[in-house]
């Protein structure tokens, strides 16, 4: 069984700049069913050089077999050495293959793969014999240079401590325990101590809890289960309120209802406008295609709106859309996202009354930053500040005052609630204020105009 014991392990390649060969070997090792295992660099070097301590190192790992490697530089050429040990630490194979351009050639890699398959099968069969005879192995070409190991010298290191390990197979006769520091021995007679670790399978009594082996904690600042579950999204909790950057694609969408209004102040020659807030609907959606980027689109439109004109009330429409991209920088519970995009705002009165207030029409660039701050696990505050220079749009006053320079400032804030996973509710307010200035000499509109759009929205959404 996988977790009862390792089978054959690959412990890495000693030397410098081994990444290319390791990358080449990865699929070969996968195919052979070899488990990757990291060991101390010194041990890896000892195994690759087949020093006196190699046998003990292998035995202590309790594996069916061990594969290691090394890159050896000699006379300006690189050679890849592959060593294979059996469970008892005997060197089964030592092969060296010259590298071509710091890599194994395709042919060498192919031969190496076939040999590894056979070697691994042989190592595992030795300790886990199959009931039925295995088919005869296919003849395999040897690698370019293969040196079958001579019988290794007897181990110079004597295993002084032997502890039976119950879950190890019977073929494993002994294993060395980690060296004692002497400190533990001093507590060997402590009758109140927890069960001795390393003694043969001595399960804890049913009543025993983690507390039994726990240190006396004098500090009150310990990590609790709640801390972990809130930070890892455990216990079916909500999605982290300020999402951590991840490599998976995220989508979100929401709809909301709210109120929107408009206040337009202009020079005396132009009719100003001020509305009471009216109902509006808002839609927002977005995706995060990469770990750090987000694309969002929002749109809103008034539901019913009318404006007084000389001959009664005229239907009025107020709408806005924006498409933005952001780079998400997450630092703990705070997210700061520089944002850029395009937007359009329009205000239109369906009337030909020449004395009415002019329409508004703005296509603008969004240059801003969004902020988010988690308040616990279910609540977050969000904010947005943007400078929005107007790129184009109809100017009803152009005939009278000349072309105006127009730009906007937009500030928004929201409080967001995530009561359950994948669902969020948001209460948001926004204030967008366009400024007009005429710089034409003698302009009657000196002093400019402002066109402000306050709004508030309650929305509900989902995210995945």
């Amino acid at each position: 069984m996988l977790f009862a014991q390792l089978a054959v392990v690959f412990v890495g390649i000693a030397g410098n700049k081994t990444e290319a060969v390791e990358h080449q070997l990865a699929p070969v090792l996968d195919h052979a069913g070899v488990t990757e295992l990291a060991i101390p660099t010194g041990d890896l070097g000892a195994l690759a050089r087949h020093t006196d301590v190699a046998k003990e190192i292998v035995r202590n790992l309790h594996v069916d077999g061990l594969i290691g490697g090394a890159l050896i530089a000699a006379k300006g050429k690189l050679t890849f050495r592959l060593v294979i040990y059996d469970a008892d630490g005997n060197l089964k194979s030592l092969g060296e293959t010259p590298l071509v351009g710091k890599k194994l050639s395709k042919d060498d890699l192919e031969v190496l793969g076939m040999n590894l398959d056979d070697e691994v099968a042989g190592l595992t069969k030795k300790h886990h014999p199959e009931p039925a005879p295995a088919p005869a192995p296919k003849p395999v070409s040897p690698p370019p240079v293969v040196v079958k190991a001579a019988p290794p010298p007897p181990p110079p290191v004597v295993v002084t401590k032997v502890a039976p390990v119950t879950q190890k197979p019977a073929t494993k006769t002994a294993t060395s325990a980690p060296p004692s520091t002497g400190l533990a021995d001093a507590f060997g007679d402590d009758k109140d101590a927890p069960p001795a670790l390393g003694t043969p399978a001595a399960p804890a009594p049913r009543a025993e809890t983690h507390e039994a082996a726990a240190p006396a904690t004098e500090v009150g600042d310990a990590v609790s289960l709640d801390d972990i579950e809130s930070l890892t999204g455990g216990n079916e909790g909500p999605t982290p309120i300020v999402a951590q950057a991840s490599s998976t694609l995220h989508l979100h969408a929401g709809v909301g209802l709210g109120l929107a209004g408009r206040v337009f102040t202009a020079p005396a020659a132009v009719t100003s406008y001020s509305s009471t807030p009216v109902g509006a609907v808002q839609f927002a959606a977005g995706l995060e295609p990469t770990a750090r980027t987000a694309l969002d689109v929002t749109a809103e439109r008034t539901l019913t709106m009318s404006s007084p004109v000389s001959n009664g009330m005229a239907a009025t429409t107020m709408s806005r859309w924006e498409v933005t991209g952001a780079y998400r920088a997450v630092r703990g519970a705070i997210e700061i996202s520089p944002t850029i995009g395009l937007g359009h705002r329009s205000f239109s009165i369906d009337s030909t009354d020449p004395s009415r207030s002019p329409d508004g029409d703005y296509s603008y660039l969004v240059l801003g930053a969004a902020f988010a701050k988690a308040l616990g696990t279910h609540v977050a505050l969000r904010g947005l500040v943007a400078f929005e220079p107007v790129l184009s749009g109809v100017e009803p006053t152009e005939m009278a005052f000349g072309e105006a320079t127009r730009w906007a400032l937009d500030v928004g804030a929201a409080i967001e609630l995530r009561p359950i996973a994948h669902i969020f509710a948001r209460a948001a307010v926004d204030y967008q204020r366009f400024a007009w200035s005429w710089d034409q000499a003698g302009a009657r509109g000196a002093g400019g105009a402002t066109d402000s759009y306050p709004s508030g929205t309650l929305s509900l959404g989902a995210e995945y």
């Binding site: 977790f3 990291a38 025993e208 726990a214 310990a222 972990i228």
Partner: protein, 163 residues
């Protein structure tokens, strides 16, 4: 100094014999810290299954194993607490390593002393190494190393254990 004494006492009182932790043993306590400096103790996870895996930036298989466990963790939400125990001696390197993996569902803790008596019980010379303890604190599963596809086998083993 006080912390050092506490750490030593922790290991002394919870590691009566230095030997490899294996299935059926009671867990050996860790004196690790979370990234925010809070102490992390396995005893505080009482009542939950806990999977904790030891790793370090220099351990190449850990670069594959931790993301694999992270993908697995949501399947056991609320049942198994996943903890990554980083044993880089340089805690800053450990934090950088953990951050680079962008783990979402594994709680990282740091135990920057691989030579401590506590750690020797977990045999840090074999990496990565994963332990699963039941709500009573008994080690129910031990795995060393990582092979591509182990997450499926681990998922099956965990499902069997926590059912």
């Amino acid at each position: 100094m006080k912390l050092a004494i506490i750490a030593i006492l922790t290991c002394l009182t919870t590691t009566p014999a230095l030997a490899e932790v294996k299935k059926g043993d009671h867990f050996v306590e860790l004196d690790a810290k979370a990234a925010n400096g809070k102490h992390f103790h396995l005893k505080d996870m009482a009542g939950k299954w806990v999977l904790y895996t030891f790793g370090a930036s220099w351990c190449q298989p850990c670069h594959k194993e931790l993301p694999a466990w992270d993908r697995l963790a949501p399947k056991f939400k609320g049942k198994v607490v996943f903890v990554a125990v980083n044993i880089n001696n340089n805690i800053d390197e450990g934090k950088q390593f953990i951050e680079s993996l962008k783990l979402k569902h594994i709680f990282p803790v740091f135990l920057p002393d691989e030579d401590s008596p506590c750690m020797k019980s977990y045999d840090p010379d074999r990496m990565p190494s994963t332990f699963v303890i039941d709500p009573k604190g008994t080690v129910q599963l031990v795995q060393y190393g990582y092979t591509k596809g182990d997450e499926d086998k681990l998922a099956a083993s965990l499902a069997e254990l926590v059912k």
